[in-house]
Amino acid sequence: MFDGLIAFGHSLASFMDPMSIGLILLSTLVGVIIGALPGLTATMGVALMTTMTIKMPSGQALLVLICTYVGAIYGGSRSAILLNIPGTPASAAACIDGHQLAKQGLAGRAMGIATTGSVLGTLIGMFFLALFTPVLGNLALKFGAYEFFWLALFGVIIAGTLTGNDPLKGWIAGLIGIFTACIGQESIYAYDRFTFGDRNLAGGLQLVPALVGAFGFAELLATVREKPVPVKLNPFDSVIPKLRDVTQYWRTILRSGVIGTFMGILPGVGEDVAAWSSYAAARRVSKEKEKFGKGSIDGLMAAETGDNACVPGAVIPVLTLAIPGSAPAAVLMAAMLIHGVRPGPMIMIEAPTFVYDVVAMMLFATLGILLYGLTLTNLLIKVLMVPKSIIIPIIFVLCVVGSYAISQRLFDVYVMLGFGVLGYVLRRMKYPVAPLVLGMVLGDLMEKGFRRGLVLSDGALTPFFTRPISAVIWITIVLVIAIKIPFVQRMIATRFGRRPQAGGA
C-alpha cells in the first residue's frame, strides 16, 4: 500500500520539470481542440500524436499521448453542448441534455458540469487504475496461451457486440481486423502469408498508419461529403463549476465513475458505450426522470463522468493483459510497443513503477482539462468557428506525413490510404470500426495463443475448454453471442415475458 504511494510520489516528481509541464499543457490543449472539433476523434488524435512523438523519450511520448487522450474525450463535450454535434462519439450522450441547457441560456453551466464530471470521472478511474492494475497484473500471471486466446477473442466479440447497432456486422469487422494481423511472416516457420512477394508486407502491416487511415482519413472522407453547416452559438453564462452540483449529484458521479471504469476495463467497449450506460443508469434511478432529454444536469453529469472514467479504465487491461479497453487505448498500446514498453502480465515484474507513471500522467492530464475547462472557453469557440475547408487539408497533411514519419517509407502512406478507404466504406455500410481495430491489435495475440496452445497440447482442443479460467471466458463468449441470436431472444422473451431487443444477429 505505502510502496504504491511512494512509487506514485516518485512518478509525480519525475514529471515536475519545465519540459514535462510544457508538454502536458500543450498536448492536453491539442487533445481538447481535437476533441472539440467535430469529425476529429480521440483515436485519430492519439494516432496522429503517436506519429509525432516517435523521436521523443518514451516517458515524455506516453505523457503526450495520455494527455491528448484525456483532453480529446473531454473536449468533445464542448461542441456537444454548443453546437449539438458530438466532437467525439463519446460525447453523443452529452448532446442530449447539454445542448438543451445551452438552448435555455445555460451553456456556461453545462460546460462547467461537463468539466466537473470529466475531472471527477477521470479521478475515479485513476483510483481504480492504481488499485486494480497490480491485482489484475498478478492474476494475469496465471494466464497461459489458452486463456490469452479466449481473452483476445472475447475482446473482439464484445467490441463487435457493443460498439455498433448490429453485432453481426461488428463481428465481421473484427474478423477483417484479425485477418489483417495475419499478413506478413508467421511466427513458427517465418513463412510469408498474403505478401504477394512484396517485401514491404513481409513484416506485416504497421498498426499506426493503418489506424491513422481507419480513423483519420476515413473521417476526413466522411466530412468532405457533408455540406457545410453554418455554426450557430447560443449565448452562455459563467463556466465556473458550482460546488452544489458536486454535492447534489455525488451519487450520480460515483455511480457513473464506477460504470465508466468498468466499461473501460471491458476489452474494446470504449467511451461512447460508457457514456450511454452511465446516462441510462442515471435516468433509471433519477428522481427527475422527466427532465432527461430536456436539459437534465443529472444526465449531463452522468454522461461526462462516465466517458472520462472510461479512459483510465481502458488502460487497465492494456497494462495488465496487453488487451486494449477502447479504440484510443489500442493506439496507446501500439505506441507503448513502439517506445519499447511491453504491456502485459509481466509489467508488474519488469516495470512495476510504470503503472504509477501512467496514473501520474492521468493526474496531470486531469489538471490540464480542469485548467482549460475554466479558462479556454473563448479560444475553443474561435476554434469551432474555423471553417472545415481549412482544417481538413491540414489534418490530411498530418495523416500523410505522420504515417510516413514512423518508418520513413512511402508504403506506410499507401497503407494509410488503403485503410482510410476501407474504414470509409465500412462506415457507409454501417459496420463499426472499433472491432476492426481490436482485431488488428489482438489478431497476433489470438493466433499465437491458438497455435501455442495446440503445440502444448499436441493438437488437442480439450485444454481450451477445460482449464478453469478458459472455461469462464469461453462460456461468457457463448452467452454474449447467444443473447444476440433472434431465436434465443424470442426464447428468453417467452420464458421471462420480455420483448426481444432489436438489432439481433
Binding site: 474478423l175 457533408e226 497533411v397 512511402l410
Partner: protein
C-alpha cells in the same frame, strides 16, 4: 440527422455479404495452398495456413448469415428499405473533389520528386480555394479567397516542414 446515421438497405447488406463470402473463400483457398512444411515434420496444427484459413472460413460463414438476413429483410420490406434521401446534407460533388485532391496529393505530389513543402503548399492552397470558392463568389470576395488559400497553404507547408524536419528529425519525402 447525421449523414452516417441512416440504416443500410437490404440491397447494400446483401452486396456486402456477397463480398465477404467471396473474400472469406479466397482467404481459405490461399491458406490451403500455403506450404505445409511436410519435409520438416510439421503437424496440421502448426501449418501456417491453419489460422488464416479458420478466419477466412468464419468470415465467409458470417457473410452467409448476413446474406440470408438481408434476403429475409428484403422479402418483408423490399430491397431498398431504410434507404433515405440524404441529398440535403451530403454533396457527392464535394466528396469527389475532396477525395480526388487527397489522392493526388498522397500519390502524385508526395515522394515523386517535387519538394515536400511545395507539394503540401499546392495541395492545401488548392483545397482551401476550391472548397471556399462558391461561398466567396457569392459573397463577392473571390480575391480574398485566393489570398486566404495562399496563406493557409504557405503556413501549413512551412510549419509541417519545420516541425517534422527540425524538431522530429524526419527526412521528409
Amino acid at each position: 440527422m447525421n449523414a452516417g446515421s441512416y440504416p443500410a438497405s437490404p440491397r447494400a447488406d446483401f452486396l456486402g455479404a456477397l463480398a465477404w463470402i467471396a473474400f472469406g473463400a479466397l482467404i481459405v483457398v490461399m491458406s490451403w495452398q500455403m506450404d505445409r512444411f511436410a519435409a520438416q515434420g510439421a503437424t496440421p496444427h502448426t501449418y501456417p495456413g491453419l489460422w488464416p484459413g479458420l478466419v477466412g472460413g468464419m468470415l465467409a460463414a458470417l457473410g452467409g448469415i448476413l446474406a440470408l438476413r438481408s434476403l429475409g429483410r428484403a422479402r418483408s420490406a423490399g430491397w431498398q428499405a431504410g434507404e433515405s434521401d440524404d441529398t440535403e446534407i451530403v454533396a457527392p460533388s464535394r466528396f469527389a473533389l475532396g477525395a480526388g485532391l487527397f489522392f493526388v496529393y498522397a500519390l502524385l505530389l508526395v515522394g515523386r520528386g517535387l519538394p515536400f513543402w511545395l507539394g503540401t503548399a499546392l495541395f492545401v492552397t488548392a483545397f482551401v480555394f476550391l472548397f471556399q470558392r462558391a461561398q466567396r463568389i457569392a459573397d463577392g470576395r473571390a480575391a480574398r479567397g485566393i489570398v486566404v488559400a495562399l496563406v493557409c497553404g504557405g503556413a501549413t507547408a512551412a510549419a509541417v516542414t519545420v516541425v517534422f524536419e527540425q524538431l522530429f528529425l524526419v527526412r521528409l519525402p
